[in-house]
């Protein structure tokens, strides 16, 4: 029976692969595929939900499914089912099915019909992996799938400027969340001396024993988890991406930002509740930030004059309340609240175009010119100050630029003196020297040996920053992004002995994807002329196949969790000791920026308005 759980993962997976195989023109086949599989999934989910609800069955966990072992390191996939999963499955399967049926007609004749259904199925796969996952590693796979499908749906209208810009913005924030996740996994690994299932977390005695001597470690893990939950659920200070994600077709916005995707952060907190249950400070932090989010987003929602941003902020305010409920330990209330809010916002977004005829009619009959709101009773100066702040979203959107994106750019720009040739010459020669030392480590003094991992890891960061800030050569930027992983491997090799098997696991995928990706860029340059990174080229418009292949390469190089390099990444982290926070931070940072640099190359070369004006292209501002 425990393996039977896998059916919930296998169905969307199967449907995703079938969807990919169906030709673009076959609208009916594509939509029937989603309709059928999501329908079956719905029926099974509801049956299982009620079986679980009324049968008072205990939680179940599958055996370890796929295991990768290397000298004390154990990586495995595992799935489980309990009350939290049950509620998320209940809501998710209903909404996904309804939105699938809705979209069958709604997207009829839309260019990208297939892309849409592929992405929805991919998302649903990720969603199920997350809610069934019973350890952090498994959950991270689903987590990343949701992230990438979110990116793809925001940029669904990939030949307009704003969707692409917003998609990249959202991706970059998601990467911040990923740092949290990776760091949490790293630390948890050391804490529990291996991977641990969520079910084991529930076992108080084991947990307390581990945490007793490591109070700060516990808080560190909790905060890291919390950061990724905040990002995914658009909590303060990460609120502003959520309304900006409403760029795709309305049903996709409804299911992602109205309901399922934004509530995944809540899920993560519910899931890890036993872990931080006894950390009072963490609970206070969650509660306070939930309150701040609710207050701020309610204010912002009140001044929104566009329907989708209003629903988005109103939904965020409710999620803030759900975080408070979670912090207070009201699990059932939080689950109930999540379900109600998800249904309500999905529906409100789906009927949002109706608001014109409905409200105009209401205005026609019930208009009163001076309707007072509560703010009219505030002192004028306070009222005005608040109004302006809410209109400017408390500067949250600009803050993201000023404290995250721009500093990275600025540092990267400092490296402009490194030209193509200089850069390659420098990096390759230093790398070779590094390799030589690696095989003759006995010549190094102990102190040198101690600092080398930091040095190489820092060079890795420099490499990706250069790649990220590169304005001209796409292929150079690409090469640098690929090289970063080799730096990481080198740095870690000096830290702890790395087996060949481990290194290959990590680097093989990256290398292959890197070479194919490079070839793609080369070919596009030959065919279309320019692939400079200082503007959007929109080559996906004419060359969708190249865009797809390159996207896959991007996933490969950035260590996306369905590739082997992901296991490798995890493995690499296991070689960073618990006390080496800086090394872990540095490595995490370089992996994060690496992802950013890669997605930027993809966006600049393949997305955005097509550079030649032969085709109808929208204004930049629309």
């Amino acid at each position: 029976m425990n393996l039977g759980l896998l059916i919930f993962i296998v169905i969307p997976l199967l449907s995703f692969f079938i969807s990919i195989a169906i030709p673009e023109r076959k609208e009916t086949a594509l939509s029937y595929n989603s309709y059928f599989f999501n329908g079956v999934h719905l029926v099974l989910s509801q049956l299982y939900f009620f079986y679980f609800l009324f049968g008072k069955h205990a939680s179940v966990t599958s055996p370890k499914l796929w295991i990768f072992e290397a000298q004390g390191f154990e990586f495995f996939l595992s799935f489980g089912f309990d009350k939290i999963t049950a509620v998320y499955l209940f809501v998710g399967s209903i909404l996904t099915f309804l939105v699938t049926v809705y979209s069958r007609y709604y997207l009829h004749r839309e260019p990208g019909y297939k892309r849409f259904f592929n992405t929805i199925q991919f998302f649903y796969l990720g969603y199920n992996i997350v809610i069934f996952a019973s350890n952090l590693e498994t959950m991270f796979i689903g987590w990343e799938i949701i992230g990438i499908s979110s990116f793809l749906l925001v940029a669904f209208y990939r030949n307009r400027y704003l969707p692409v810009k917003n998609a990249v913005k959202i991706f970059s924030l998601y990467r911040v969340g990923d740092v949290g996740f990776i760091m949490a996994m790293w630390m948890a690994h050391h804490l529990f001396q291996g991977s641990m299932t969520f079910q084991q977390l529930g076992d108080l005695s084991i947990l307390n024993e581990h945490l007793k001597s490591h109070t700060w470690t516990g808080v560190f893990i909790s905060v890291m988890i919390l950061i990724s939950a905040w990002v995914k659920s658009g909590q303060f200070p990460f609120c502003s991406w959520m309304p900006r994600a409403m760029e795709g077709p309305t049903p996709s916005s409804a299911i992602f930002y109205g309901s399922l995707s934004v509530n995944i952060g809540v899920f993560l907190m519910l899931r890890t509740f036993p872990f931080w249950e006894h950390q009072f400070s963490v609970r206070v932090l969650i509660g306070v930030m939930g309150m701040v989010t609710t207050l701020i987003t309610t204010g912002i929602a009140r001044v929104q004059s566009s329907i989708k941003s209003q629903v988005a902020y109103a939904s965020l305010a409710q999620i803030g309340l759900i975080f408070i409920e979670v912090a207070l330990g009201f699990e059932n209330l939080a689950l109930f609240h999540f379900a109600g809010n998800a249904f309500l916002r999905t529906y409100q977004l789906l009927v949002s175009p109706s608001v014109v005829s409905y409200m105009i009619r209401e205005q026609f009959y019930n208009f009163s010119p001076r309707e007072k709101t509560i703010e009219d009773y505030f002192p004028k100066k306070i009222r005005n100050t608040l109004y302006i702040l809410c209109m400017k979203e408390w500067n949250l959107d600009t803050l993201m630029y000023e404290y995250w994106w721009n500093p990275l750019k600025r540092v990267g720009n400092k490296l402009n003196f490194l030209t193509l040739k200089k850069a390659l010459l420098f990096f390759i020669s230093v790398y070779v020297i590094g390799l030589v030392f690696l095989f003759h480590q006995q010549v190094l003094s102990t102190t040198t040996h101690l600092y080398l991992p930091y040095l190489f890891s820092a060079i890795g960061v420099v490499t990706v920053l250069k790649s990220f800030a590169e304005r001209q050569h796409a292929r150079l930027a690409w090469t640098l992004a690929v090289m970063n992983h080799f730096w990481i491997a080198l740095a870690i090799s000096f830290n702890e002995p790395l087996e060949l098997k481990e290194a290959t696991t990590y680097l093989l995928g990256v290398g292959v994807a890197g070479i194919i990706g490079h070839a793609c860029l080369q070919r596009i340059k030959t065919l279309e002329g320019s692939v400079d990174l200082d503007q959007f080229h929109g080559h996906s418009f004419k060359r969708p196949m190249f865009a797809l292949v390159f996207l896959l390469c991007c996933l490969g190089v950035s260590g996306f969790p369905i590739t082997l390099s992901f296991v490798g990444e995890d493995l690499i982290f296991s070689h960073i000791r618990q006390d080496q926070t800086w090394l872990a931070g540095c490595t995490a940072l370089s992996i994060i920026v690496d992802g950013l640099a890669i997605i930027r190359i993809y966006a600049r070369v393949f997305l955005g308005p097509h550079a030649k004006s032969v085709y109808e292209m929208a204004y930049r501002s629309s």
Binding site: L95, S103, Y106, R109, Y157, R160, L162, P163, K165, M246, G248, P249, L295, T298, A301, R302, V303, Q304, S305, S306, K308, Q310, A314, Q318, L321, H337, G340, F343, L344, Q348, L350, V351, P353, V355, S357, M359, I360, E362, Q363, F364, Y365, F367, E371, E375, K380, K381, N384, T385, Y387, I388, K392, D397, K612, V614, Y615, E616, A618, Y619, R620, S622
Partner: protein, 831 residues
């Protein structure tokens, strides 16, 4: 262009070419490129293209594909080339059209000056200014989405912002200078431009054009609201000048913030001067090739139509025993409905006229706080019709309540109503039905309520309008209606006035689906008012004196045709005598059958409907579409429109026109000197020409001139749509409305003597401009000889169709099921 900057001239030039689309509730079709209408069509659109970067025709490869598919006829192409280039150049040009390679990438002039910010200063001004600017504009104009509205909005746009900035600890600006300039309140556009652009005033106008056309949607909306404040129910004081001032201030702010140490005005670091915006346009060979293709494309369609009209058979003398007569709107969507009715009842007579039936007035439904204008856009009515004794209540849907957006009520609502939403969504997807969210034409007026139609006391006025029409006024309007449509005698026992409207759900563009002649609303009230007037004994007395005797047993009945659902309702049926009632119920059967057939004919365009089913079954599916949340194409509106035929029904009764024609009834014998014809043409050029060109341009450039796909649309302040939350407004038609449209100019066919047509169109300068500048093609048909004359360069010359013969339709059902594409012009078997 002189070198000094004249603010008011610059603004009026801007307003002239900015989009003029009204807020969504008043969506009325117009020529998207109205700013270029004083030029000849082909030259004007090229100019628009080079200056503003619009696509104004199909792409070269698309024309070539059409030629390959036989949709552009080779014979026509040869004729067009021979006529324009001469026989000796035919093969040279044909080769150019079919094979030659051209560089089609022509960067537009707009934006070339302001591009220097990015190129030379490395600052992306638009992305720094637009989001906050759009947000402030939208909040200021908002009609009721925001819960907390713009403070002090009654002061007007700039003054309200000034007030906000003066009394606040926070600011929209990030630096001091711009804020102080705003508060000082005496700044002019010129001063701000001096800061931004520098001393060179000759660049100022170009700069403003660049700036405003970077968000033409918002600028256009501001310009419309400035000129017609009442187009917003909750009115606002705003002007384009204020918008420009504020935007210039935001730009100064962004630059001050970015370059903390100061920056040089744009003109001082300009390396080369951009080409002046409105300097002469260079016409390339590519332009000529595209123009020739366009003309050949159009005539490939027109020619068979003219062949068909030329084959009209003189109708037998009107018979005395007409079963009924029915007036429909000129609208192209009524074209097939009329054909089906006539097929089912060969003794009936149908007529077309603008769907307000000559009755122009404001309407106030019971409980309404405002008036709705029910007549064509240019007319300003002086009469008011009120609804009373209505028992209709406003239906509500809690999902639209704003309480769900506050945190405590939101907390309650999400945990209660939230679960109801899931259920509602389920119902809506599997069993769609009419809901409060649906925009339904039948809700426009309560059929059981009474209307104040007749005015017995001229002093009975409200807000400068007379309540109802006097007997004289009713008679005048009916006389004009009957004489212009040629219905003077005999009147049948039952005469119907069918207004039309539509039903759609989840559709911000719902107003575009209703009757354009009724100001973008359903025509039910107009139909009912017209029927009331025509049934009035005193009105009939007056009409009889004017030579329009209406027999006592004749009765007029108002009705409404819902073009989306293909349903009709009738008003005041209780006033019919028993004999009339039984005739009426016999007629209703005909209408019902015709409606199903019409629904089936429309459904051939919907690939999601299986067309090989009985008409009634398809009709049911068509009805469901209109109330389905997930259906972006409840109907296809005016898509594929291409003709406007003004003349007797005999001209077209034998033809299958595939719902592509606006039909206006007119009898030259009643109007020998073109008095009524002039009024018909005035209305038809504006309404039909506007519709046709809006479809044309939205089709050729759905991104810049149309609204793009409607799937990601976000409703802004209830007056417009945008993509995402901080995009520009998207005027024009969404892709779902125009994708099956063929971009062809309207051809107007008038049945009258060419010399009368000529003298008539010359009487009105605006009307004449449509034809002489070739934004509409005009053909006159000699009523007796059926010779055809094409209007060209101010004169009529005889036209001979090339098409040799048209085929007959033997089986209508089979014919309709044969294709989802446009069908060729064919002859009907019965003719």
């Amino acid at each position: 262009m002189s070198n000094s900057f004249d603010e008011s001239r610059a603004i009026s030039r801007l307003k002239h070419i900015l989009p003029t689309q009204s807020p969504l509730k008043d969506f009325i079709h117009h020529n998207t490129l109205h700013g270029f209408q004083e030029k000849k069509f082909l030259a004007g659109i090229r100019e628009a293209s080079q200056i503003l970067g619009y696509k104004v025709s199909l792409r070269l490869d698309m024309y070539r594909d059409l030629f390959g598919d036989g949709k552009i006829s080779e014979k026509i192409l040869d004729r067009v080339l021979t006529e324009t280039k001469g026989l000796d150049q035919l093969s040279v040009w044909k080769k150019k059209l079919i094979q030659a390679q051209y560089n089609q990438h022509l960067p537009p002039r707009i934006g070339s000056l302001r591009a220097a910010w990015k190129r030379d200063y490395g600052v992306d001004l638009d992305s720094l200014v637009h989001p906050i600017l759009f947000r402030i504009l939208c909040s200021f104009l908002d009609q009721g989405i925001a819960i907390w509205g713009f403070p002090d909005k009654d002061l007007g746009f700039l003054q309200a912002i000034r007030e906000l900035e003066r009394n606040s600890h926070s600011s929209f600006f990030r630096t001091k200078r711009a804020k102080q300039l705003l508060i000082s309140s005496r700044v002019s556009i010129k001063e701000l431009l001096r800061i931004l652009v520098g001393e060179d005033e000759s660049l100022y106008e170009h700069y403003l054009f660049d700036q405003q056309f970077a968000h033409q949607g918002w600028s256009g909306m501001v310009s419309v609201v400035e000129d017609h404040p009442i187009t917003l129910l909750d009115t606002r004081k705003i002007s384009l000048r204020e918008l420009i001032l504020f935007e210039l201030l935001l730009e100064i702010d962004a630059l001050d913030y970015r370059f903390k140490g100061g920056w040089k005005p744009l003109s001082e670091s300009l390396t080369h001067r951009p080409q002046a915006l409105f300097s002469d346009i260079e016409f390339t060979e590519l332009h000529e090739v595209l123009s020739l293709w366009q003309v050949a494309y159009e005539w490939s369609y027109y020619d068979p139509v003219l062949k068909g009209i030329g084959a009209a058979i003189d109708l037998p003398k009107k018979s005395r025993d007409v079963t009924f007569q029915a007036f429909f709107c000129i609208d192209d969507r009524e074209c097939s409905f009329r054909r089906h009715i006539e097929t089912l009842d060969s003794r009936c007579e149908t007529l077309g006229t603008p769907g307000f039936f000559g009755m122009e007035f404001f309407f106030q439904p019971q409980g309404g706080k405002f008036y709705s204008k029910l007549c064509p856009a240019p007319v300003t009515p002086k009469h008011l019709v009120r609804e009373y004794e209505s028992c209709k209540e406003l239906e509500r849907d809690l999902h639209f309540t704003k309480h769900s957006h506050n945190f405590f009520t939101g907390w309650l609502i999400s945990q209660t109503l939230g679960f109801w939403s899931a259920f509602k969504l389920f119902l809506n997807i599997f069993k769609p039905s009419l809901s409060p969210a649906t925009a339904s034409s039948f809700r426009h007026m309560d059929t059981t309520a009474s209307l104040t139609i007749e005015n017995k006391n001229p002093n009975n006025r409200e807000n400068g309008m007379q309540i109802g029409f006097s007997i004289d006024e009713m008679a005048d309007r009916l006389e004009a209606l009957f004489k212009s449509t040629g219905l003077i005698d005999p009147f049948a026992k039952l005469v119907y006035f069918f207004g039309h409207g539509s039903t759609s759900t989840n559709n911000p563009h719902y107003a575009a689906y209703d009757c354009g002649a009724c100001g973008g609303r359903a025509g039910s009230v107009n139909a009912r008012v017209a029927a009331y007037a025509a049934n009035h004994p005193q009105v009939r007395e007056l009409l009889a004196k004017r030579g329009l005797p209406i027999p006592e047993e004749a009765k007029f009945v108002g009705g409404l045709h819902d073009t989306t659902r293909d349903e009709v309702i009738f008003f005041d049926e209780d006033l019919l005598s028993p004999t009339q009632a039984s005739l009426h119920s016999a007629n209703k059967k005909i209408f019902d059958a015709a409606l199903s057939l019409n629904a089936k004919e429309r459904a051939r365009r919907f690939p999601t409907v299986n067309i090989h089913q009985p008409a009634e079954k398809i009709h049911e599916q068509v009805r469901i579409r209109s109330v389905s949340l997930f259906e972006p194409r409840p109907e296809l509106n005016h898509a594929s429109n291409a003709l406007c035929i003004i003349g007797r029904r005999a001209l077209t009764k034998h033809l299958f026109l595939d719902r592509r024609a606006f039909l206006n009834s007119f009898d030259y014998r009643i109007d020998p000197d073109g008095k009524y014809l002039l009024n018909i043409l005035k209305a038809a050029t504006n309404v039909c020409g506007g519709i046709n060109l809006e479809y044309f341009f939205s089709r050729v450039d759905v991104q810049k001139l149309g609204a793009g796909s409607k799937l990601p649309h976000n409703v802004m302040g209830l007056f417009g749509v945008a993509n995402g939350i901080d995009g520009d407004l998207r005027p024009g038609l969404p892709r779902q409305m125009i994708e099956i449209h063929d971009p062809i100019r309207l051809m107007m066919v008038v049945e009258h003597l060419p010399e009368i047509v000529l003298s008539t169109i010359r009487k009105d300068a605006d009307t004449y401009q449509w034809f002489i500048k070739e934004w509409i093609n005009l053909v006159a048909i000699h009523p007796e000889t059926h010779q055809m004359f094409l209007f060209k360069e101010g004169d009529f010359t005889e036209y001979q169709p090339i098409t040799e013969h048209l085929s007959f339709i033997t089986d209508m059902d089979q014919f309709i099921e044969s294709s989802t594409e446009n069908l060729p012009i064919c002859l009907l078997k019965s003719a």
